[in-house]
Symmetry: C3
């Protein structure tokens, strides 16, 4: 069966603010951005980040059993890439981020970013103004995906 390549959903936004954040040493990158969004009323956005983490927890989603497997990263790594977004889940700002980490040899570990303790982190966040971007449970994937109906 050939499936058409049209997206499931599309929302148009205006970029209201370009925000530059320096995250605090020893905080969790995911919680920091979520708490920042909550305190500033950011309901939708997209971000990139670079820096270094003291430790982290990554996730891999098992597409068959519909559960996350946790991958502990217990030593310091560069945050070689971090791409993420902010939307609402149960009415509160929710951060979804993926990261690529690298060690002293340049070797990498990557995945869904569950936790990352900041050594230093620089974030560029584009705050978006527009339709309500809210997550809803999706039966097909077992994930909370954007409700774009």
């Amino acid at each position: 069966m050939k499936v058409g390549h049209v997206p499931e959903g599309l929302f148009e936004f205006a970029a209201s603010k370009e925000l530059i954040l320096r995250l605090k040493h020893n905080t969790d990158i995911v919680q920091s951005i979520a708490e920042f969004a909550g305190s500033k009323g950011v309901k939708a956005g997209n971000f990139t980040a670079i820096g270094a983490l003291k430790r982290a927890e990554l996730g891999y989603y098992d597409q068959t059993n519909h559960e996350y497997r946790k991958i502990g990263i217990d030593s310091p790594y560069e945050l070689a890439s971090c791409v993420g977004n902010i939307s609402l889940k149960d009415g509160e700002p929710f951060v979804h981020a993926h990261a690529v980490l690298s060690d002293e040899k340049g070797n990498t570990r990557a995945g869904h970013l569950l936790e990352g303790i900041v050594f230093a982190a620089e974030v560029h966040l584009t705050q978006l103004e527009g339709p309500k971007l809210e997550r809803k449970y999706d039966e097909v994937t077992g994930l909370w995906l954007w409700n774009m109906e």
Copy 2:
């Protein structure tokens, strides 16, 4: 010979729209974005994406022989990073994207993204308005690079 570090070319754009897309399960991420661009008249843009793929095909460009080598990824991977752009090739919207994928151990594979079958994917696309950004064959690299003359 020392080469000056000035860019080969520069175009200035305005961001006309910030678009948030949820791609459809089982579609190809590259074709989805290209078809979306075609249907909406997006002639230039830049995007990031995160999510998970059911399978993928990556590419590595052989800089000496000027040909892509294909790297098949036949099992589910996280889409740990995806950075790409939209420009015109032969007058049609063309997607150029690179991706980093990660498995259940957090180990990675990466490269030029030839195909990626979507399990779930969230895209942030900045639509750009400005000069005509079109690809043209470049003798030096054997690639279709932006014509910025």
Copy 3:
């Protein structure tokens, strides 16, 4: 001790221009972007890039000894991801970038990007207008971080 997850600092900017650059073959990606910023008066910005490098030098920051370890990459790699920013250091535009590279098997190396010799590179740079974003030596990390006081 529980540390609150508020960012160390926040600056708000407007995106003044969306810039698309094609970097010159055989130049260094970090120097190219820095020299471009200097020549065009870009004092703050964020960018992503994809392409291919002929060779590179990556860095890993030793969080205990506060020094960079250099990782030489002496063969051609895809530039699978590059995320970076521009701010001021000693009054001049300074580029901070991280990269993920991939080889013909799709295997990766990543880290702080010290040097990357361009085979081909496509850059999307968002020029930011707003407060002065300047680096200052940080005693805690031994890094030059943004002064957001």
